[in-house]
Amino acid sequence: MHMLKMKDRDVVSIGDFTVEEIEGIMDYASEMVPIAKGEKKSKVLDGKILSTLFFEPSTRTRLSFESAMLRLGGGVLGFAEPSATSAKKGETLADTIRMAEAYSDVIVLRHPREGAARLAAKFSSKPVINAGDGAGQHPTQTLLDLFTIKSEKGKIGGINVNLMGDLKYGRTVHSLAHALAMFGADLTFTAPKELQMPEHVVKNVKSLGVKPKIESSLEKSISAADVVYVTRIQKERFPDLAEYEKVAGAYRIDMDVLEKAKKDMIIMHPLPRVTEIAPEVDSTPHAKYFTQAFNGVPVRMALLSLVLEVRE
């Protein structure tokens, strides 16, 4: 039924996957939705064990991986913060990975350093899934973002996606921009000048045949958007509070801003959100960030079953 072969594949960087493979993962994920919701039961991962090695806390990502594994009948072991680990005693990541490889069938790793997942994949014969490596990659976030757009809009190519907020430091938006360009989405980058998309990302997107619009005004760019992907602007990026508040205020989604938006425009956010989306927005049909967070479960279910090669 599924032609996609991913047994023992590591999921380190979204760049390791072709458009066809990503399409296959998304198709599989949509079949997982009823199981993720608990409406259907599955035991396909019965007897399999997932290690979740979180050297840096991330509640949402960890819980959704654990939920995905448990929904498919598998078991989970691991740690949620580094204080509990042997890294504190001077063990290398390579050694910790060899241990997890011996105790489980698949490894999910979150680590504060870039390249940690690639290194882990070198030392493990069992598949390694990157759940975020420092300021590097977070491919399952990218996949669930793509899956959300695809399932809400029916397609990704030709869809106007407006990435806004902190595009300079935001880890997720760099790989997302790359992936969206691979699918031929229309891209708009809306951000204050000092937080605009880095030149290397713009270049990379152009090399994939997409000419992104660079905007500083949300008021101007929001009307064309099919998807607005909001990211948080952090206080630490600004020399003083007044400057921060001015900028944060200009890149905030509230009811007034929404008046200029298309009726079926959807709002996404990697969460947690703070003040960048007004709470009133939550009850509008635009708000899809909680659906997006839920989508992390079926997408991770699809990946876990694909790399462990168990099929319904």
Binding site: R113, E114, L119, D133
Partner: protein, 157 residues
């Protein structure tokens, strides 16, 4: 006017066609410093037939090991290595542009896993490794953190 000449070497290595200005880096790669015991000639910025200018390094009683060759290929991609035996060029090879670079340059990203040290001060058991995106100019990308390494020659190990 007196004419000064560089003395020919009997046995050793002549590294020719070094990109102009890079001779001192080649010397450094070879570990030649104040403790040197053999004759070393460094000739910089001489007019060249192949390119406008080149540097040349001549070292007596010394051949290059594979690691030194790989490093020289990185910073002087046009270099030729002439092995001198009994005053004659016994063997001439061009350096090969590397396809993969491992263990000779360190990643400049301080937060890269290849730069991580445990509380016991041990590194992860891997060599820093880069893919070569282009050779002229030299552009390297870290296999681990996926960042491009700016000024690779400044990061030779």
């Amino acid at each position: 006017m007196k004419e000064f000449r560089i003395q020919p070497i009997k046995n050793g290595t002549v590294i020719d066609h070094i990109d102009s200005g890079k001779a001192l880096k080649v010397i450094k790669i070879m570990g030649i410093d104040e403790n040197v015991t053999s004759v070393v000639s460094v000739i910089m910025h001489v007019p060249s037939s192949k390119k406008d200018f080149k540097d040349i390094v001549k070292v007596e009683d010394r051949e290059l090991n594979p690691k030194e060759l790989k490093k020289i290929a990185l910073i002087a991609p046009n270099a030729t290595i002439n092995i001198i035996r009994d005053y004659e060029v016994a063997k001439k090879t061009k350096v090969k542009p590397p396809e993969k670079v491992s263990g000779i340059v360190r990643c400049a990203n301080p937060n890269c896993i290849t730069n991580a040290r445990t509380s016991m001060e041990t590194f992860e058991p891997v060599e820093p490794e880069f893919t070569v995106e282009s050779t002229k100019p030299l552009r390297l990308r870290c296999v681990y953190c996926e960042r491009e390494l700016e000024n690779p020659e400044e990061h030779l190990i």
